[in-house]
């Protein structure tokens, strides 16, 4: 099965070397960060979490969204997703790995990461996040190994795997809920301490993940012999539409509570994001871009004739992905720290080393997706020829 990863077209190898090279650069930058400390990032005493944890938050959602293709197919016999589930699961695995790497590069003492396992601390949500992420990774590897392995051999998957597939659905919900719990229980951070944070996370995850899958499915269909099917892509589009609508609704709820009550402690963080606090307005153009892209994409997707056109669907999916990346991967984490508990306004912007490390981890994710998809497509091609 794995030999398919080593045989491919020029285009395939170009992708491998591109992503591999980017990962290499990211890795070297990480070594630079490891030797010099986190001073190479843009984080500060007031804004002590930044791009790395933002990326963890965003990609945990992408990882969880694999459930959005698994659930209809396995629980409700939605046959159209037959060729899409494997694409979804092979996005989930790299996404979870990326999440773990984002935590690792954020640690001040990464060599001590085993302390997370040597000294389990049930009162800490970070402990449960670690458990949830490793469990989800294990589940997905197990499921894909047996389901895809069986398919490759042309036999039905073992019956007991159904239990794990069904387990992966609530587990997917829980990895993102526990990530929301990291934030939502902190009295120190009124911007994060909202009951609606976990639902918001889930809604945005189920919009961003399917959007990414739509783009990947279209790319796969264009450049290979594998076609996940127009109906499957359309269904993903419908899921993304409703999820994005739920997400925008929940953002609206947050804005209403802050704006109508006028309570300064809550208002200040939204002010920082959307109009700036005094001179501190670095994130303002980004947040408005995110808002406009998100709303525009949702409007596009609401119109069936636009959604049915796969070119417009691709644009809308990209817009949703970028909009939510800005919101969750950058805005949400930083705004929790501005203003600080002592009322200080300290801005944050990632430095070049931070971006290089983040690009390196993205590249690793893309590399893994390329390799997995190549294996899947080659195996399917072989099966179809036989």
């Amino acid at each position: 099965m794995f030999e398919h990863a080593f045989k491919g077209s020029l285009r395939y190898w170009a992708l491998i070397f591109l992503f591999g090279g980017l990962f290499g650069v990211g890795f070297l930058t990480f070594l630079y960060q490891y030797m010099n400390g986190l001073q190479v990032t843009g984080m500060s005493r007031d804004v002590s979490w930044g791009l790395y944890i933002g990326q963890l938050t965003f990609f945990v959602g992408v990882a969880a969204s694999a459930v959005m293709v698994v659930l209809p197919y396995y629980l409700h016999n939605f046959k159209a997703f037959g060729r899409m589930t494997v694409l979804g699961e092979f996005v989930a695995i790299p996404a979870v790995l990326m999440c773990m790497l984002f935590v690792l590069v954020d640690l001040g003492q990464p060599a001590r990461m085993m302390n997370l396992f040597l000294h389990p601390t049930p009162n800490s949500m970070l402990f449960w996040d670690t458990v949830a992420l490793f469990g989800y990774l294990g589940l997905n590897i197990l499921i894909t190994w047996f389901v895809f392995g069986a398919e490759r051999k042309g036999v039905p998957a073992p019956r007991w795997i159904k239990f794990f597939i069904i387990l992966s659905v609530p587990w997917a919900f829980s990895i993102h809920t526990v990530t929301a719990f990291l934030y939502a229980g902190l009295g120190a951070r009124p911007f994060w301490m909202t009951a609606v944070l976990a639902p918001r996370f889930l809604a945005s995850a189920f919009a961003a993940g399917p959007s990414l899958l739509i783009l990947l499915a279209l790319i796969v269909r264009k450049f290979t012999t594998f076609d996940p099917g127009k109906e499957a892509i359309q269904q993903l589009g419908r899921i993304a539409t409703y999820a994005m609508a739920a997400n925008i609704f929940l953002v609206g709820m947050e804005l209403f509570t802050a704006l109508y009550s006028g309570i300064p402690e809550h208002l200040h963080h939204f002010e920082y994001l959307y109009v700036g606090l005094g001179e501190a307005d670095t994130l303002v153009p980004w947040m408005w871009t995110s808002a406009i892209l998100g709303v525009a994409a949702m409007v596009m997707l609401f119109v069936p004739s636009i959604r049915r056109n796969e070119t417009y669907l691709a644009w809308a999916a990209a817009m949703i992905f970028i909009s939510l990346w800005i919101d969750k991967g950058l805005g949400m984490v930083v705004a929790g720290y501005v203003p600080s508990p002592l009322g200080a306004v300290t801005e944050y912007w990632p430095t070049l080393p931070e971006w290089m490390i983040v690009f390196g981890i993205w590249a690793l994710g893309l590399l893994l997706i390329t390799v997995f998809y190549k294996i899947v497509i080659s195996v399917r091609e072989q099966a179809e020829q036989a």
Binding site: G37, Q39, W49, Q109, R112, L116, T121, L186, G187, T346
Partner: protein, 259 residues
């Protein structure tokens, strides 16, 4: 319901065992729930600090306590405010007590410098979130850091409502000009904060800041055992109006302020 003697004896025996096991535990469970809004009284010491802001201001611009603290703990001096490390410092009143100021607060109070530090809370959010128990609460109430275990995830910094914690963004050792050999420095990648001078308490000495305030003569800092009703600290709290920071969060800080 009909039963035979054998079954009755089995059930009775198990019930007795169960009740016997629960008996010592039950009063503990009752005590742990505590009174609403009151700190549960416990045996043993419970260290606390009083900051008398009136006495502190009399010396105007003095940094003796903060300097003493940073000196005996090898805290590096980092001029960049984004990366600085501070255990004990002064904040304007409006930042230390944001719910206590408004548009018509009396002259001089809003910007009055107030000493702030880790509050060694009774319900510390930092301890709650630490994934490795690198920061933990001792029996005497001191919230301590185990620098060997800290993985530098900075979750405690996100959770602290008082901004008391600092992170070592780079190696601090070369930045400590005068190293005090009786205490270690830290290394890059760990979080640090006031430790109520646990190493001095172990030798029966007062915290460095308290000693400094006695040496300069301001006597603005008082340290003592809150559980000892006869201590100067407990007596002062009983007699004078005192507040603590962000009481609405339920953290129950053990640094008290006389305004």
């Amino acid at each position: 319901m009909s039963t035979n003697r054998r079954d009755f004896l089995k059930v009775a025996g198990c019930s007795l065992l169960g009740a016997g096991a629960l008996a010592p535990v039950a009063p503990r469970i009752a005590a742990a729930s505590g009174g609403h809004g009151e700190t549960a009284k416990r045996e043993g010491k419970r260290w606390a600090l009083i900051v008398d802001t009136k006495k502190c201001l009399e010396k105007g611009g003095c940094q003796a306590c903060a300097d003493a603290c940073h000196k005996v703990h090898n805290v590096p001096h980092i001029p960049d405010a984004k990366r600085e490390i501070k255990w004990l410092w002064k904040e304007p009143y409006k930042h230390a007590f944001p719910t206590q100021v408004h548009a018509f607060t009396e002259d001089g109070l809003k910007d009055k410098p107030v000493l702030v530090l880790c509050n060694h809370c009774e319900n510390p959010p930092c301890v709650k979130v630490c994934p490795t128990k690198a920061t933990f609460k001792r029996d005497d109430g001191v919230i301590t850091m185990d620098m060997h275990r800290c993985i530098g995830c900075r979750y405690c910094m996100a959770a602290c409502p008082y901004g008391s914690r600092s992170f070592n963004w780079k190696d601090p050792k070369p930045l400590v000009a005068q190293k005090d050999p009786t205490f270690p420095t830290r290394t890059k990648g760990v979080v640090e904060k006031c430790n109520f001078c646990a190493e001095r308490l172990a030798q029966g000495r007062a915290p460095a800041c308290v000693e400094a305030s006695q040496n300069t003569g301001c006597n603005a800092l008082m340290f003592g055992d809150l559980n000892d009703a006869s201590s100067g600290l407990a007596q002062t709290l009983k007699g004078r109006h005192n507040i603590r920071r962000k009481p609405f969060l339920g953290t129950e800080p053990h640094v008290f302020y006389l305004i």
